[in-house]
């Protein structure tokens, strides 16, 4: 197995001496060539988990192995197989060019100058950025910088790539390029990829497997198809004749409406007859169309995280 994450626990001590239980007993595996999307609300523990896998945060309990090498203790072997682009960091020297960055980051991962340059050129070509290889990173657009950061993380040809919010704040074009590349990287080259994102379309396009983490606990895990199938048949689209009043809108919200426009929303219903309840809540505003549809990941995520984290689950892990 490429990545094995076993029972990770992380409690942070904050400045005011409180304890934050950021991660409470997470276990999962990732095989070569698979893409796992790690989803969860802000503060759920995604970044903490990724940093524990990269050895940057030390877990209170549990272990991580990459290609069979443990990260606790002597982590060098595990780190050789791992590349990471971290959230909110530059991950690159802005005063250097992409090529100089590749030489440096390759060098401190044991690559010769020539190997690092050749590999860096090849990666930049795959992103269509070969003409940018000589400009300093600070001169590049935000999207290009992120693509170069991904190239740098791949310079030593790792078999595991960690991407913490890789498309955050990027325009559609840059985001699409990165998504295309990530798909090819996993499915053609067999690199295992663990990524976090708040953009459900991105996760839906990329992931083979989906994990949802809430309050430091994995509350949902499975193949993308299975996860999407969970709410298929109970997901509905409603279209209204006009924009409803604010009170009516709030009432519909209570029944699980997720608005996609002024006059349109989706909802997941336990029973088909709940349609009447929603219509009543919206009165006198007329519902002109109701359609059953297959759920998208955003709907699944919203619906799943609407319920509070099952308490017994937390107990089980912290006990």
């Amino acid at each position: 197995m490429l990545l094995e994450v076993g029972g990770l626990v992380k409690r942070y001590k904050t400045k005011d001496r409180q304890i934050v239980e950021a991660v409470r007993g997470i276990r999962f595996t990732l095989s070569a060539g698979a893409i796992l999307a790690f989803l969860g609300p802000n503060g759920a523990g995604k970044t903490t988990t990724i940093k524990m896998i990269a050895g940057l945060v030390r877990p209170d309990d549990g272990d991580v192995t990459v290609e069979g090498h443990s990260l606790s203790g002597r982590s060098g072997q595990a780190l050789r197989h791992l590349g990471a682009v971290l959230e909110g960091s530059r991950n690159l020297y802005w005063r250097l060019t992409p090529l100089e960055n590749f030489e440096y980051w390759g060098g401190i991962r044991g690559l010769s100058r020539k190997t690092a340059r050749d590999r860096g050129r090849e990666l930049m070509r795959e992103f269509g950025l070969e003409d940018k290889i000589g400009s300093t990173v600070q001169q590049l657009s935000r999207g290009m910088q992120q693509q170069v950061a991904i190239c740098a993380a791949l310079i030593h040809s790792p078999s595991l790539l960690l991407l913490d919010e890789p498309t955050l704040g990027l325009d559609l074009d840059a985001s699409d390029r990165i998504q295309d590349y990530v798909l090819r990287l996993a499915h053609e080259r067999g690199v295992g990829i663990l990524l976090t994102t708040h953009q459900m379309e991105v996760a839906q396009t990329l992931a083979d497997r989906i994990s949802i983490i809430q309050n430091g606990v994995l509350t949902l895990e499975g193949l993308k198809e299975d996860v999407l199938a969970r709410f298929t048949g109970s997901s509905y689209v409603f279209e209204l004749a006009e924009a409803p009043s604010a009170e009516a809108r709030l009432l519909a919200d209570d029944l699980g409406a997720a608005w996609t426009g002024e006059c349109e929303f989706r909802a997941v219903l336990d029973r088909p007859t709940d349609v009447y309840e929603i219509m009543r809540a919206l009165e006198p505003c007329a519902v002109v169309r109701v359609m059953r549809e297959t759920a998208d990941l955003a709907t699944v995520f919203r619906e799943h995280t609407r319920k509070p984290v099952p308490v017994e689950n937390i107990r089980e892990v912290t006990a």
Partner: protein, 258 residues
């Protein structure tokens, strides 16, 4: 590991070349100081006995700046990389951060040394005073830089935990300057241990007896031995404390915070 060293080396060069104003201002300072030393030296000595004394001063000054560089580089690197969002990538190196910092320090010292030598020769050419600097001075020089590197790891440890090191660095410079000026070598009794164990003390004694008394490297009593012991000791202390500080920062999860 050689690839990592050459990567550090190249990175320094590239930055120097790309930002020549920083390079020039650094060079200007060295040139001015050396020129001043030469002028002052020849003025005081009436231009006649510009022999040993002046070269001692210059060697001493060069060693002091290189050592201070080694004390400060690693801590500065950590706070700088944390601010620039690259520190965590450095910590992802399979060689470990301690080694990467050491290599960066080495690259810095070598570049600093090259500058110093270059400037020295130019100033000698300009003033027409030629100094003889013994190649044996290299040995105490290296020992001094090794101790300084150990202190550098201590500063780096403080930086990684407290996120700032400037005050410590200032304080440390004063203490070290005191240790260099103080005649610790002539202390007796229990104080002798201080002369042996305090950072820089034995190597300064070694340099002094080599320079002012013209002693050969091996003819300085036990000062060479004590200098080696001292350098190894401070390097070890530095490495151990740095390993502990890294572990602590990883436990707190604030390696990259600034």
């Amino acid at each position: 590991m050689l690839h990592a060293l050459s990567a550090e080396w190249r990175r320094e060069w590239v930055q120097l070349r790309r930002y020549p104003t920083e390079l020039l201002s650094e060079l200007a300072v060295i040139v001015l100081v050396f020129y001043g030393l030469f002028l002052g030296g020849s003025y005081m000595a009436g231009g006649a006995i510009l022999g040993g004394r002046l070269s001692d001063i210059i060697v001493g000054y060069a060693l002091w700046t290189l050592s201070m560089m080694s004390v400060g580089t690693m801590g500065w690197t950590i706070s700088n990389e944390a601010q620039n969002g690259t520190l965590e990538q450095v910590f992802l190196s399979p060689y470990g951060a301690a080694l990467i910092l050491l290599l960066r320090n080495m690259a810095n010292v070598v570049i600093g040394l090259l500058f110093t030598i270059l400037t020295l020769f130019s100033v000698m050419a300009i003033t027409g005073h030629y100094l003889f600097i013994s190649p044996w001075d290299i040995v105490p020089g290296l020992l001094m830089i090794a101790s300084a590197t150990g202190l550098g790891y201590l500063v780096a440890s403080v930086t990684i935990l407290m996120k700032r090191s400037q005050q410590l660095l200032n304080l440390l410079q004063f203490i070290l300057l005191f240790l260099i000026m103080a005649p610790t070598a002539s202390l007796g009794g229990p104080w002798r241990w201080l002369a042996i164990m305090a950072p820089f003390s034995p190597v300064v004694a070694l340099l002094r007896s080599m320079m002012t008394q013209g002693a050969a490297l091996l003819g300085t009593g036990n000062w060479l031995l004590w200098s080696v012991v001292n350098a190894v000791l401070w390097l070890l202390i530095g490495l151990l404390v740095f390993a502990w500080a890294q572990k602590k920062a990883r436990r707190r999860g604030n390696l990259s915070h600034y």
